[in-house]
Symmetry: C4
Subunit: 495 residues, 4 copies
């Protein structure tokens, strides 16, 4: 009946570190220094059952894939493993209370509402991972703010009886001008993970981009799709190009219709809100000095095993040689690189993106960049060479319409669907998509456009888009002294 808990429990240190996952024991001692998430978190479970912590952050096939057979110590008799009693913190108890009383799905009228619900019902660390971004999270919020510096110039007296939201992205006809973009670790939000998004996307005829860092395995996500569905594949390029090749060709074989190579993450961003929520009062040491690893090489080495910081323009012909999927660059962030991509014969498109504000703070928003890029491409006769997508900060149907007006082929949406899934599962994601559909139809009618093709820059006032002033700092003395105007008094006290 396998190993007994007491045996596993002996291997509870860096010298000999075993962990139990899904009823099997693994010896990860040698793997400790290479774990991208640091050894500290593994050691916390040394000699114990790590399944609950492991699951949302790793696809089920991770251990089989990355740990040599020899380290698989075999099944454990789970009845012999000591169960740690969990005492919910007061914060956690409040959360559980909120889960019980959460608003009904029908009370969610827009995508922000799902975020509010998710904030209330998600575990603190999961919320920290999804919601966080880099440094001061200025870019995170700028992604949203930038859309609000774009104003419409609507047309009237156009026959808008029948509205069509159909559009083509990379030769696929799709029912609406947005797609589910790749986001990591779906099981943090929902026990079933990314397949929930797959199923909801199917209900609305929306394309899904499959993430490399999913909680579900790639196979599970592909299997969850119907025949009619289109899926794309997002790739983090591994330093070991053979691994990369295998992944890409497998994706193509399983039917993925496009390859999106992430280019904005040679190193994964540092997200302080996430760190603070994860480590709590304990704190974490600075990224590199975990476990006494040599500072000058440790981090680079750890990261480079999964994401190659050496990836460059020179690698693109190789990608073309290993796949016939369209190749797109995900995370382009300046005009010059867009032009270069347009001239590169190996590139079929790109996503203007700053990785949801999770990589470089003060990277520009995709929508502002789009408004800069398109006139340059047109001036150089390159506008048909690339299909350009944008993501980041999209919350309203009108945001999508603004991007389409400026020349995007489609708009990626990530966090809002994760939040909807975290709050309400597939129903939540479907409602989120339905809300967008309604907002899109309404927006088209009120703009005076019956089809996506009619959208164009003449419908926008972009004059304020480039304004990033922050004004002079507050005059705290004047604010404290000023006696503001008030409305009429109400009986004795005010309204």
């Amino acid at each position: 009946m396998g190993l007994v808990g007491a045996e596993v429990a002996k291997h509870n240190s860096a010298d000999s570190c075993w962990v139990i996952v899904h009823g099997k024991a693994y010896d990860v001692t040698e793997f400790l220094p290479e774990h991208p998430g640091g050894s500290k978190i593994i050691l916390k479970y040394a000699g114990k059952d790590a399944t609950e912590e492991f699951d949302p952050i790793h696809p089920p096939d991770t251990l089989d894939k990355y740990l040599p057979e020899s380290k698989h110590k075999g099944p454990v008799d789970m009845s012999t493993v000591e169960v740690e009693e969990k005492i919910a913190s007061p914060d956690e108890e409040e959360r559980l209370e909120r889960v019980k009383n959460k608003p009904s799905l029908s009370q969610c009228y827009n995508l922000m509402d799902f975020e509010a619900v998710a904030k209330g019902v998600m575990k603190k660390t999961a919320w920290g991972y999804y919601s966080s971004a880099s440094d001061d999270e200025i870019t995170l919020r700028e992604n949203r703010s930038a859309y609000q510096r774009l104003w419409f110039r609507p047309r009237i007296l156009v026959d808008v009886t029948n509205i069509s939201l159909n559009t083509k992205m990379l030769s696929t006809l799709t029912s609406m001008p947005f797609y589910v973009t790749a986001t990591a670790l779906g099981k943090l939000g929902h026990p079933e993970g990314e397949v929930v998004l797959t199923r909801a996307a199917n209900m609305h005829g929306v394309i899904q981009m499959i993430p490399t860092l999913a909680s579900c395995s790639f196979g599970e996500i592909v299997d969850a799709a119907t025949d009619k569905q289109t899926q794309w594949f997002q790739l983090y390029v591994n330093k070991d190009r053979e691994v990369t090749k295998k992944i890409v060709q497998h994706a193509e074989k399983r039917g993925c219709k496009a390859l999106f190579i992430t280019v904005d993450a040679p190193q994964l961003g540092r997200r302080e809100k996430d760190m603070r929520s994860k480590f709590g009062g304990e704190g974490s040491s600075v990224q590199k000095d975990d476990d006494g690893v040599d500072r000058s090489q440790g981090a680079a080495r750890a990261i480079s095993s999964f994401i190659d910081p050496g990836l460059s323009w020179k690698d693109l012909p190789w990608f073309r040689s290993i796949t016939s999927m369209p190749i797109l660059l995900k995370g382009v962030q300046c005009v010059e690189d867009v032009v270069r991509a347009a001239k590169d014969p190996n590139v079929d498109g790109l996503v203007l993106s700053n990785h949801g504000g999770r990589q470089l703070d003060f990277a520009p928003s995709a929508i502002e960049l789009l408004a800069e890029v398109m006139p340059v491409l047109k001036a150089q006769g390159l506008e048909r060479k690339l299909e350009i997508f944008v993501d980041g900060g999209v919350r309203r149907g009108t945001d999508i319409l603004k991007a389409m007006c400026l020349g995007a082929k489609g708009v990626g949406i990530g966090r809002p669907f994760l939040y909807a899934m975290s709050g309400y599962g597939q129903d939540g994601v479907e409602r989120a998509m339905q809300l967008l559909r309604d907002e899109l139809e309404m927006g088209m009618r009120l703009l005076g456009c019956a089809t996506i093709e009619e959208l164009g820059p003449h419908l926008l006032d972009t004059r304020s888009l480039g304004q990033h002033g922050n004004g002079i700092p507050r005059d705290t003395l004047m604010e404290e002294v000023y006696d503001g105007l008030t409305v009429p008094g109400w009986g004795k006290s005010r309204l």
Copy 2:
């Protein structure tokens, strides 16, 4: 003595749905799927007395007009109808308390004050309907903010002993440069509805625009006017053009002096604050999936019966053919459409308007558009072809003066009068108008203008009007850490 309550009460489902209104029973079973407000709200009153809910939202002649005689089930003996006991919610009890203690009318010194009072005394759903706007309500507030980006360049040493506010709109001499614009459902704010506005307008010699969607019937509103009063008519164009023709010609016959065709509402806006206040904890499903109606057609069908989304420039000659009233387009939102209207022989004027922010969020404010439009019209020699009006966000006499400086012929005011009426009835509306009169006179004197004709763009600094930046997002860390300056301490505690 008519039907008894128990008989009506049997028809309490979608299969057979009767409702009582003003003591008469109606069979609305077949009408359910066509009700613009959705079937859900009717079913709530199936088999019961719906008068209180029905009244503010429908003119009294609605049922006679739209429901075939055969569905009129005749009088009900109301003494046999079970009266549901109402238990006021704690919110509602607080509201009733506020109604008792509301500020005296003489404490209202400006139009914002009426809004504050209305917010306190109106029923939550009524307030939700009046105050709400579309999406994030950015345009709603931009309408007000835009006026505040306009600064004066006042003239001194002008003889301003005698000020005249008289001006002409569409050949009518009027006492002040504003009019009461069309707003729906006046009985939500006051049991007598729109006729209250009619009477107040008469006291101040102000023009009123009669709304299609009034709570009072058209006839009641016309009847409430005196001989000296001028009324205009606002039209939602029905898909059935014969119905439209009948309505327009009836308005002309009853003395309306101008026809304002609403062109910014091919679909009625979705207002989340309104939905949240109406449906409360229960929530509403997405617009289209009520009652299992086919999603691809349901909404369009429902809406198109009252408001034709197919209305287009091609329809204008027909309007000219059925009426000799001046024809104006209400809701023009971009320069190009203004120029087109100016060149269209069937258009006599227009209202720059975004429907009070209730239709397309991020539509521009009328005042900003006006400043863009007038120079273009002048450059093309078209400035005399149209009379241009604006509405949205007007709260101060100086707002009106700014619009007049920029070339408007008059300014429409809606919500503020509804709020004044909701708080204080006709007295409130009259005081609101008197406050505007005082502010206008004061403003004229301080600008150095004795007559409306003297107002012009030379009195304004418009440089900041087009600035819609929103700055970079807040630096929450710095704000939390910064130790603001303070004023001297006060004994122990501060002031």
Copy 3:
């Protein structure tokens, strides 16, 4: 021993209205409709002792000057007058408590501090009068904000061992580049009124402008000055030009060195904060309909008796004919009028001013206007024709230096000295002036200027001065949902 209280008390209505002031009775029945402050406030004291209310708002010689001898009913035996027991409101009791605990003078480190103290110790109505401004008080605060849009370009390595703040205004050498500008009703802040300012100005060698609407009589203020002091005279022009002539010539005879004619107040502004604080829960009716006076003429008539709304450029030669004092226009508000004044042979200078934000809301700040005006004057060779002063919003030594850099001859300061006086009497005003002196010296040193003459526009960055954007309205949903970054937790609770 004079009249008895009971006799006076009989005249307690609009039909026969007597009031007691400083122990004498006056019949003001006929004067009621002409009282600029409205009849209501007088009737409140009909038949009673009005001294306390009367004093701060009227110079002591008012009744003798304006009420015919026949209406003087003679002395009253004050021991027979019933004394109304006053019960302090809770607000008033809190105020008295604050007066007891007010910060020591030495804790006031800048001019804002005096405002904070005044807000705490002044009577609500007095504070309301001093601090209020017109409409939304946007211009009031813009006056201050505009200075903060001006940045320095300081010079280094200049010998600033010895700093001189001396400068000439209208041929008078003065010790600092500011003057005490005219403000009304000094006794609301201090029982001795404007003479307190006179004495403090003497201590610092600063010029004072005497207001027409002082609480002290003109004579008292002149008498309070020493031989070395310079005083100017501010004039509201009376419709009766003989009265005006008498006033002006008297001022010149008593030694006033300049005449500042107020041109921004053909009608006195409506200040809602003032009204709300004065009338409290009772409210006031709209300006014009007090006492049933004919609306179309009432207000104009009442006002015109003191301030002539008919004053115009045509009157200037007449002023030149009656005085040899330099003539300055106070309250010029646009470039065109400055140019006109520069070309008018009867004008020697002017004050760019919007009356402290108390007249037309959205009038521009003086400092912004100054930056616009000076280049125009220079381009037309008119810059030496006028001495230009500015007032409004000045709180820091650097504000004064900014105005001097842009070409002002001096800067008027009003409210801050009233607040200093209200909090601490003459000591307060002196310290306020000393603080400015310190700030000016410091500012000069750090700018790299040893004398006022060295100040010039090369020391300023004016690029942002004209920016009056207000950004897009707040995104209330995003703000509610966004989970801001925080600093490290502190034991359990945060810092």
Copy 4:
């Protein structure tokens, strides 16, 4: 065994004033009027032990250096000195409680976190001294805000496997592009003072600038450095040039590699927050009138003994004549002076700086000035003549990268290291530097630069840098009345 306490205690007035410092008595009677900090603070300790107050504000050799031997009264038998019992104020007790519970160092994830901790654990007066700045502290905060108006234009697909942060400053190769700039009074934050910074700088291979006004003596700071370390010297120029010469030549002899002459402080700034925290409820009199000193000369004289306000461009050749260290001007604040410095043969470099906002409020931020300056220098072919450094407001690795992109040779950081030292001593400073290192490496990777040389203005969007608008003042009525949108309700109460 020396003097007894009672003897010293007799000299407790301005007539005869002795103080005890580190167990020795000193007669400071004659020095009182010359004390730069005013006589008041000394008199507080007249006849008593002043060591605790004295220590952080004076280097240990101060008394030996500045007080004639004859005033040294010799050792005191400290057992005979009466010890004043200290009663901690409630504020102080709360602080001590916070000290006990302060966050662990590993919870500090960025430089702002150290400031938050310092704010909690530092004594109020020490915090007041470090954190305060001049006037309204607008420039203090603008220093930080300006960096946030700069946006990146990142490059992708660059090989960033190996990142080097090495750079040269004034011929010294250093490990990172920042240095520890000179800040006064280190012992206010940590009992060991500036040497803590020296040691931490050594650990990270970072240059330190030694301040004239250190708490440690110059010798102590130099002695604390290792052989590999580079130190620069910051100089306040004494009016007595012989003193200055001695100081400079001593610094050079002890190995300092550059001389930074402070040019932005002919007079030390007035910092109100500091004054308020120091004098508390007592307040301080205006700067000059302490002790009845003649106002026109007192302050100038007191200041000029330490810092010469007469320092000018003419003095630069003399500096060149006394030292062969590179000479840099610290505190240059406008383009014209940069150009002049570039043309001056005696200047080798400069620091764009406004003294951390502590001198002239509304002086521009260094980063904005840098962006203005570099193109001018390039246009005149002067860009290689000077090494340009900047300081003020730097908190993030990306701030440093922005400055390097714009052409700085290095970035000075002051307060953040003081705060880290105040909270956690040397460990804190080291972690602060490590955090910056991590942020720099991350930023370089995400910008697509492997070496500092690759940074350039093409990586920045500077369009918003010059925007210093502050918008129109708040519309307090609208804000009070507006009924903001909300997220779904949560059971009964909201989230």
